[in-house]
Symmetry: C2
Subunit: 158 residues, 2 copies
């Protein structure tokens, strides 16, 4: 990181940014061509869980190269008197890791339950059954094991 | 694209999404490891222009592999009665292309002027001079030539 004063060193703060984000971007790469798409996800026990179609470019890319990047960010533009002084108030997290695709019904059930708890509520997620997950024939879960995780923030002085 | 009904076929609509987005994500790749970071950018005459530090991982990655991906997205979660029916109302654009790093003062001046016009105003951007740009010794501009561009949207039925 060039501007080391912007690095977030507290793991809890990095984890909180990951927990609060509703959209992340999954970066995969095949034969040197990176590919980035927005995804819903949940951060749980040091792993990132994503659900998506069982077929498609991200799945093909991961099958040929399991190295991935996962990114979340949030911020607003801060206007100044001079245009050169305009800046962004933001925080972001960049994760490097290895992705594993799973279609195992038990693993998918656990992941989908956690995703539902994040995006709806614990009560609603408890309505999910193993039987209903077994019917999602086109769905897969991507599990990212984290190798490296960097947080960055800029809080401009007023 | 698996769900072809979500593809945006109108180039003007795709370009509008790119023009309206304030943050995009630049995906690079080095030795099979993708790397994704948030960036400010401007879309101009079929190219994507990004400014950033002259040193760093994204610059190193592009120097060794000019293939990049650029992504923008925006959306909101739409709650439903059943958690399985929750969906996202969103639009996104994924660009595949080639990146070129430039530190040429004239090219940087033009790019920074366009960036300032986007993020502040035309009036303020006109205050920028070639001389002030020449002083940015640590700055580079990344120019992405687009090879392929895909737009996607989901407008859930109510």
């Amino acid at each position: 990181m060039i501007r080391s004063e912007r690095e977030i060193k507290d793991l809890k703060e990095i984890e909180q940014i990951l927990k609060d984000a509703s959209v992340g971007r999954l970066g995969t790469s095949c034969e040197g061509q990176p590919y980035v798409i927005p995804v819903n996800f949940v951060y749980h026990e040091g792993k990132i869980l994503i659900h998506g179609a069982r077929k498609g470019k991200k799945i093909d890319n991961i099958a040929s190269n399991s190295k991935v990047c996962f990114e979340v960010d949030g911020g607003v533009l801060v206007a100044r008197d001079k245009p050169c002084d305009y800046t962004m108030k933001y925080s972001s997290v960049v994760v490097l890791g290895e992705a594993k695709i799973t279609t195992d019904p038990d693993e998918m059930f656990m992941a989908l339950k956690l995703l539902m708890e994040k995006y709806s509520s614990k009560e609603l997620s408890e309505q999910l059954t193993r039987e209903s997950v077994a019917r999602f024939k086109n769905l897969a879960v991507i599990e990212i094991s984290i190798r490296d995780m960097t947080g960055k923030r800029n809080i401009p002085r007023s």
